[in-house]
């Protein structure tokens, strides 16, 4: 069944359930209660599940947002506000609070979210306890009948369950849409490769905060549904334990899966119903189930079953054999010309110095990368090559006398994420592709980020899907379009990494060891790719240990040794420079002998 068909099926089931529970009046009170609980738990688990799946962030404080929804519902209904408005208002309030909290924790490791949200749960309990004017404190609060715009008055006595089911269905569709949208893909990129995501222009903590805000907004809708269907707010529903129950639902059902959220919410609805008299037993089952699922299945019931099915299906299908043509330099040049503006400005590095508490990693290094040229950067291990690249990408901050300019633009003033916008890009030694995006999804997402840049340079091919397909065609990656990076040979991953740099619209590309880990065939293809890029006017800075490759490709070569500029000139000069030979061999041998170091 395709994803689309599945979504339609869920929508139909949701609509039928809503009709059965409400207008058709076919359900008893107990089944209405269970259906309503499962629905609002589903919304809540989905909000936690999305956040864990798309961002790797575990929230222990989502009951705080549910509380926002519930208490807003109780208080606003008193003033005759219709439920439709309440849902939007609660989502907005929770979303804004979530976004702000997300910004504060998102700058650090996602682990800090766990700590911060645990604190949030405790704080919300305290606020509920003492802000009695709004919450009525410990005693809890009665909720009036919801008012709807459609009925122009209170809805029927059995309708709240219908409302819960409808909200759950809408939230499901929203979750599915967001997950497969460019936003969901950006979040997966940040989750998988924080560094590489910055290189294509994403700001990780802002992306985390957006996701956190959206998740908070969804959780608050669960609170609205809960308030109207139970018609009484019990503060215990917003305790730290309740928050943890949502994590249980996420883990047991399956992380990053809407269907998993459904299974998980069914689980946390059923267990307390079955273990009615002993809360401790319910917690015992929760804790045990969570540990067992993680240790035995790894990622929850639904994804584990799906993997099983995929393996079975693949067994019956012969492994895909791919005949791939190598890219040649001319085709590459044509491709690049379609996608990128030629570089027009010189990248000037002057007096670059970098210090790690006492250790001088880079000492007064200056050179230029003229537009459309290739500069090679070589030097023995520890010479400072990667440090220099990290200064260019903005991951290291050099000492204040350093100047790096692209034409007149001060590169160092731009954040790591801002450097993509001025046309700078990079590739990685280990490719660092986004593990949860297939190759085409990655290219579309990156091309989407680069769209303004392309429009600015009046490049006709700027529609993300089109850019992605051009790159897939041009780099002969079409057979791998739907593959995840881990399914691909390393050489292909590195070609895809170059594809990502092309998609990002970068006309000045720094490449960290592009030749490392490649066999002879792959090397010769890479040579063609790089020549094609340069012929199309891309400025390239290559850092590599494969000295011969660098010398034959680069217009100018920079040699670093112990952080200092040892030599700077064209390939022929470098080949014969005694100081360079000494750095490599300790004596004056000829550099021709150096390769595959």
């Amino acid at each position: 069944m395709s994803t689309m068909q599945f979504r339609i099926l869920v929508t139909i089931v949701g609509t039928v359930l809503a009709l059965v529970a409400g207008p058709l009046n076919l359900m008893g009170d107990y089944s209405l209660f269970v259906l309503a609980s499962a629905s609002f738990f589903f919304i809540a688990v989905l909000s936690v599940n999305m956040l864990a799946g798309l961002c790797g962030i575990w929230s222990l404080g989502h009951t705080a947002y549910i509380a926002i929804g519930a208490y807003m519902a109780a208080n606003l209904t008193k003033h005759g506000v219709p439920i439709e408005v309440i849902v939007l208002a609660a989502a907005a309030a929770a979303g804004i609070i979530g976004f702000i909290l997300g910004l504060s924790a998102g700058r650090f490791s996602v682990l800090y979210f766990g700590l911060l949200t645990m604190a949030l749960a405790l704080v919300s309990s305290e606020v509920i306890m003492y802000w009695t004017a709004v919450t009525n404190g410990e005693d809890g609060m009665k909720v009036g009948r919801a008012i709807s715009i459609f009925t122009q008055g209170p809805i029927g006595a059995k309708s709240p369950t219908s409302v819960c089911v409808i909200l759950a269905t809408l939230v499901y569709l929203l979750g599915e849409t967001v997950s497969s949208s460019r936003f969901g893909r950006r979040w997966l990129a940040v989750k998988g490769q924080r560094t590489a995501s910055m290189a294509i222009g994403l700001i990780p903590h802002v992306e985390n905060a957006k996701a956190f805000g959206l998740s908070a907004a969804i959780a608050s809708i669960s609170g609205v549904a809960m308030a109207f269907s139970v018609s009484f707010i019990d503060p215990i529903a917003f305790s730290l334990e309740a928050s943890i129950t949502l994590v249980v639902g996420t883990v047991v059902g399956g992380i990053g899966s809407s269907l998993g959220a459904l299974v998980g919410s069914a689980f946390i609805t059923a267990v307390p119903e079955l273990a009615r008299d002993a809360l401790a037993i319910a917690n015992f089952i929760y804790g045990g189930a969570m540990i067992a699922v993680l240790l035995l299945l790894g990622k929850g019931v639904v994804p584990a079953l799906r993997d099983k099915l995929t393996i079975l299906r693949n067994k019956s299908r012969p492994a895909m054999q791919v005949q791939r043509h190598a890219v040649d330099a001319n085709a590459m040049m044509e491709l690049v010309k379609q996608l990128l503006p030629p570089a027009t400005e010189t990248l000037t590095l002057s007096r670059v110095s970098l210090q790690f508490s006492g250790l001088k990693a880079l000492d007064d290094v200056s050179f230029e990368l003229p537009p459309g040229k290739a500069v090679g950067l070589i030097g023995p291990n520890g010479a400072g090559k990667t440090s220099l690249l990290n200064v260019l990408s903005g991951f290291y901050t050099p000492v204040s006398t350093t100047e790096v300019k692209l034409g007149k633009v001060d590169v160092l003033a731009a954040s790591p994420s801002g450097r993509a916008a001025i046309g700078m890009g990079r590739t990685f030694q280990h490719a660092e592709l986004f593990p949860e995006l297939n190759i085409r999804e990655m290219l579309v997402m990156v091309a989407g980020l680069a769209r303004p840049l392309r429009q600015k340079h009046q490049i006709e091919a700027n529609e993300p899907g089109l850019v992605a397909d051009l790159i897939l065609d041009g780099l002969e990656l079409k057979p791998y379009a739907n593959s995840l990076p881990t399914e691909l040979p390393f050489g292909i991953q590195k070609v895809a990494d170059i594809g990502r740099a092309l998609a990002s619209g970068a006309s000045i590309v720094s490449m960290d060891e592009p030749f490392s880990g490649l066999d002879e065939h792959e090397r010769s293809e890479l040579r063609a790719i790089l020549q094609g890029m340069r012929n199309a006017g891309v400025s390239i800075l290559i850092i590599d240990h494969a000295v011969q490759e660098v010398l034959s490709l680069a217009d100018k070569v920079v040699v670093l040794d112990f952080g200092r500029l040892l030599a700077y000139g064209d390939a022929e000069e470098i080949r014969n420079d005694p100081a360079v030979m000494k750095a490599y061999f300790g004596s004056a041998h000829h550099l021709e002998a150096v390769d595959h170091v």
């Binding site: 864990a52 790797g56 575990w58 222990l60 909290l101 910004l103 504060s104 924790a105 700058r107 650090f108 490791s109 996602v110 682990l111 800090y112 766990g114 700590l115 911060l116 645990m118 604190a119 949030l120 405790l122 704080v123 305290e126 606020v127 306890m129 003492y130 924080r194 730290l240 943890i244 994590v247 249980v248 883990v251 809360l279 401790a280 037993i281 319910a282 917690n283 015992f284 929760y286 804790g287 045990g288 189930a289 969570m290 540990i291 993680l294 240790l295 790894g298 990622k299 593990p435």
Partner: protein, 291 residues
């Protein structure tokens, strides 16, 4: 002024518990990249067993020892049985975090099932109080502070002076290199979990002596310990300890002078503000991330 001094001093004494828990969290995080959410419940379990033995006639001081060793051993078992089998994949960090949340639920539920939900009385290590500069301080609190200080000093000594302690720090810095020079990473992890959970046992013991023995003993202290970790960073032991004390004082000052009801909220607001203003933490140490 005397009042303020009293509030600060009493804050420092409460802070010693948070500092201990924070230190336990950091020691475990440094060794296995796991934020152990079950650390409070592990300590509580140890104290419940100790409390039962004390009720049967065991001297209180021996009870403290029992609590430490039991909590420590539970920690070792947790690492061996639940954390190590996860291996070293990409998502292990998050799985480990969630597993400890699950373990916390299990331990909490187990305590309820074995000892019931009603809080039990718990004897202090020493009784009576003393008046210093017009401030009344319970001997038990003072002793708790001294034992906490002694524990911190011996941990500092262990990590800076003993070969095995230095080896543990080396492993935290670079596990691969540590393995190459012959450090047994498994033993290092076990010891870190023993020490981390053991000092949580001390913290839980004095929390129980301060109030009563109940399953939710450590929840609010753990929240404050996490706040301390926020201030000091997840990888700095000194930062965690200082952060724990700062939170203790802050919490007490806020509770006495701003609002007794909204203590958690004020601590929380301060953390969020600190994160905005000084992302590197109050103590300014770099935040080394291993994610």
């Amino acid at each position: 002024m005397t009042d303020f001094l009293a509030v600060v001093i009493s804050g420092i004494f409460s802070g010693s518990t948070y500092a201990l828990l924070a230190l336990g969290i950091v020691i475990i995080f440094r060794s296995t990249d796991t934020v152990n959410f079950a650390i409070g419940d592990t300590g509580t379990l140890g104290v419940f067993v100790a409390g039962t033995l004390i009720a049967m006639g065991l001297p209180v001081a021996a009870g403290l020892l029992v609590a430490i060793v039991l909590a420590g051993l539970s920690g070792v078992a947790t690492e061996r049985l639940l954390i190590r089998p996860l291996g070293h994949g990409r998502n292990v960090l998050f799985m480990a975090l969630v597993i400890t949340i699950g373990l916390g639920l299990l331990l909490h539920a187990a305590i309820y099932l074995l000892w019931g939900t009603a809080p039990r009385p718990f004897p202090p290590l020493v009784s009576g109080s003393v008046t210093l500069f017009g401030i009344v301080l319970a001997w038990n609190k003072i002793l708790a502070g001294l034992i906490a200080a002694a524990a911190m000093v011996s941990i500092a000594w262990f990590f800076t002076k003993t070969p095995f302690g230095i080896a543990m720090r080396a492993t935290a810095e670079d596990p691969g290199a540590a393995r190459m020079i012959g450090i047994d990473a498994g033993r290092v992890s076990s010891l870190a979990w023993f020490v981390g959970c053991g000092i949580a046992g001390i913290a839980a013991f004095f929390l129980a002596a301060d109030t009563s023995l109940n399953a939710s003993l450590t929840i609010s202290a753990l929240f404050r310990a996490f706040a301390g970790v926020f201030l000091g960073g997840l990888t700095s032991m000194a930062g965690a300890v200082i952060g724990g004390f700062i939170i203790g004082v802050l919490d007490n000052v806020a509770g006495n002078y701003i609002s007794a009801s909204y203590r958690d909220t004020i601590v929380f607001a301060v953390i969020v503000m600190v994160l905005f203003i000084r992302p590197a933490g109050v103590l300014g140490s770099g935040r080394k991330e291993r994610v």
